[in-house]
Symmetry: C2
Subunit: 108 residues, 2 copies
């Protein structure tokens, strides 16, 4: 029972180069493809394609300005992943609370 767009987010962030690009955008703010290419350690076309994947997952937004394209992180697109963790986190908490109260009753 996976949430609707969660899959794209999970897949996009599964690649370390893409995570690294997203991290860089989060830390340093808006960046051009050129700047990101200098950072990422792969070729410019590779960076462009990674950015396309991140864009389809809505993890980044872009803005054209003349011949350059500026990308910035869109952190609220992490919501599906957060929700997924939160969903199972709540479940664990319930189990943990039950276990905790059980232990309290057993050894007061």
């Amino acid at each position: 029972m996976t949430l609707p767009h969660a899959n794209q987010v999970f897949r996009a962030l599964a690649d370390p180069t893409r995570r690294s690009i997203f991290e860089e955008l989060t830390r340093q703010g808006e960046q051009t493809v050129h700047a990101l290419t200098g950072y990422a350690g792969v070729s410019q076309p590779a960076v462009s394609r990674h950015l396309t994947v991140l864009r389809r997952a809505k993890l980044v937004r872009h803005r054209r300005e003349g011949r350059e394209t500026h990308y910035r992180a869109q952190p609220d697109a992490l919501a599906p992943m957060v929700d997924w963790l939160d969903l199972y986190g709540a479940f664990w908490r319930d189990r943990f609370d039950r276990l905790e109260s059980l232990l309290n009753r057993m050894a007061p």
Copy 2:
């Protein structure tokens, strides 16, 4: 600057079938490979290999009992993903503080 085992966790959870198996184990508790095969909608060898991937990411543990192998979720192995989101998705900080403290209580 991603933690060493974070990559395995991200990769393991990138596949929807594997997420589904992990979700099932979290919801229903310990399960045999046979039971999971009935659930997952793929062949038994496929399930076994998914479980191996989840095991290497430490997201599940297994216990042999006679001819069957029982698997259960190991939710504290999600910690690297939670840490990552906490770091780069500061937007969601307060929601994560709850989850993180929960995980800390479960696996101190």
